[in-house]
């Protein structure tokens, strides 16, 4: 696979895996309206994943005429080591606070990156970003409001947010550590290096954390991770997730209903 296609897969995997994790809340949410809200966000993310997978399939099939990949092949028939998503998104949901914080971190990143992708040299990627950014704006607003509600809420909600901050701390570094496909894509003008949006991310995130009476993040205290998810090295959380997500098409290949 060429590295720009890998970049597309990276975004397909991020949105699919996070969409799947969010969908695990469906029917389990603390309040009906928020159950629905998170389910809608999951749906948006999975829709974005489909757009990216479809594009990746077209690209791969174009480069290698022997291939006839579809979005389903990519989503359901790859093994964990072939996935490129951030470790952040494959983690178990934990409580509502952790889910909210994960969404907030991810949507903040996604929004800033999609803004940059609007002027990507690859017009197909730019089109997906143009479509997706409107939805991501809503995800960001919703999750930021929840960060504030919980952070500046009760003693318990505040404590749970602090726990969430601690639990997700190790996964932030990877966002801003460029993988080989990001270097390649950046060179081709397809996307920016993550370094370019790093200080904006910290500024936006910290502004919300401060409003939520949560201690702000310090970029110095977050070491760039040795690359993991982006390089296909995942935690067992992803294996568990995929064993559920992929079981039906793998057990009954070719079936439809």
């Amino acid at each position: 696979m060429d590295l720009v296609s890998t970049f597309v897969i990276y975004w397909a995997d991020n949105t699919l895996i996070l969409g799947h994790r969010n969908s695990e809340w469906t029917g389990q949410g603390p309040i009906l309206e928020q159950d629905i809200a998170l389910s809608n966000i999951a749906l948006d993310l999975i829709g974005q994943a489909r757009n990216f997978y479809q594009l990746a399939a077209v690209r791969i099939n174009r480069i290698d005429k022997n291939q006839t990949l579809t979005e389903d092949d990519l989503a359901y028939f790859r093994d964990p080591s072939e996935f490129r998503n951030l470790i952040l998104v494959e983690q178990e949901n934990g409580d509502w606070a952790r889910t909210i914080l994960r969404q907030f971190y991810f949507s903040s990143y996604q929004f800033l990156l999609y803004e940059e992708l609007l002027s990507s040299a690859d017009r197909d990627i730019a089109a997906i970003a143009e479509k997706s950014i409107k939805e991501t704006r809503y995800h960001l607003r919703w999750s930021a409001e929840w960060v504030m509600r919980l952070g500046d809420g009760t003693e318990e909600s505040h404590a749970r947010m602090l726990d969430a901050i601690q639990m997700l701390h190790p996964f932030i570094g990877e966002i801003f550590t460029a993988a080989d496909f990001e270097y390649e894509a950046a060179e081709k003008g397809v996307c920016p290096l993550p370094e370019k949006i790093k200080s904006r991310w910290y500024k936006e995130v910290n502004s919300t954390l401060a409003s939520a009476t949560i201690p702000v993040l310090s970029a110095d205290k977050i070491s760039p991770n040795a690359l993991s998810g982006k390089n296909g090295v995942h935690t067992e959380q992803l294996e568990d997730l995929l064993s559920v997500m992929q079981i039906l098409p793998r057990a009954y290949p070719g079936v439809s209903w």
Binding site: N40, L43, D44, E130, K131, Y138
Partner: protein, 157 residues
Amino acid sequence: MNTEQIISILSEVRDPEIPVLSISELGILRSVEMTDNKVSICITPTYSGCPAMETIQEDIHSELAKHGITQVEITQSLSPAWTTEWMTDSGKKKLLEFGIAPPTPHGCSQNGNDHPAYCPHCHSRNLELISRFGSTACKALYRCLDCQEPFDYFKCH
């Protein structure tokens, strides 16, 4: 058959979730072209994950088949991205009659001040947001503080 006739047939294809609206009124139908005996239709999705798009495509095929047109190709275009600004005035009026507050004009550009203009039931402006996400991704849930009725708002997009 010419393209005008095809477009007229397609105005019978409704949004499965909001059956008062046709795909033309929603601004989903982008173009119709005829080459030889094939009809090429381009539609644009509203929200990325909108599950109604599959149904709409099936409905387009079956509506055209009723008129004997079976050589149909449907493509989806992502750019320019669908916006509620493409919804027709008649579409907005039908939404209101159906009990859904239509998207406020230019609400998208107002940095978070995207609210319904008034309650679709009693027309009061005394409204309260319950949730930014309603029964579908495209709608938010509001309550009228005067008549106490909850209602969906079709968000600016």
